[in-house]
Symmetry: C2
Subunit: 127 residues, 2 copies
């Protein structure tokens, strides 16, 4: 997988190979990826099952688009990239313009500069 | 304004200079533009006032993101780029996977290949 600035990451599992029991948390990065994978049933299934298992989920920038598709935003307090602010609101979430928003096990941030804030809260929930 | 493939278009008016009485219809193109302008109050005001004036509005690809921000999709039948399908649904619309969907004065399409279908319906509504 090639990032926006050229950084390469090797995908070690296909979505179908994911066993949620092997993971303690989930991070949904942003960029163009969320739009490309949010309609894949296995993707939203992984997200929903991680959520139901009480495991922390972090989403940043466009990452919350996947949370919309997984139907997880109703009544939740979240933040996201400002360009999809009205989408998370339409999905029933309360949007807050903050570096990081934590609602139960859901950790959301707006832009890459917010990453330190997001990771601090995400790691706190993993403990 | 420079398009995705390098084509240049001269913007002749700023949003603040738009007088909706001078226009018979509105087309909302897709791409990255909608995310950049959907949070500008004047943009959603133009769209809402055109709609209230009974003038046809066409939106393609990511264009419907602006319709979400303008709160115009509740109960409407629409289509859009598949990557924002769940956003138009969350906004209360019924999503249809068709070249073009017409609901009252709202004309929507999915991708550039649908443009001939969209324009035919849009022009029909202008007559």
């Amino acid at each position: 997988v090639k990032g926006k600035k050229g950084y390469m990451v090797r995908a070690e599992l296909s979505f179908d190979e994911v066993d949620i029991d092997e993971f303690v948390g989930l991070i949904l990065p942003g960029g163009k990826g969320p739009e490309h994978i949010r309609n894949i049933p296995k993707v939203t299934e992984i997200v929903r099952r991680m959520h139901e298992a009480g495991k922390p989920i972090a989403a940043i920038c466009h990452g919350p688009q996947i949370l919309i598709s997984a139907n997880l935003l109703g009544g939740k307090r979240v933040t996201c990239y400002h360009g999809i602010r009205d989408d998370v609101k339409a999905a029933g979430a309360e949007y807050l313009d903050m570096e990081v928003v934590v609602d139960d096990k859901l950790v959301t941030s707006r832009v890459p500069d917010d990453l330190p804030y997001m990771m601090k809260e995400f790691i706190r929930l993993l403990k």
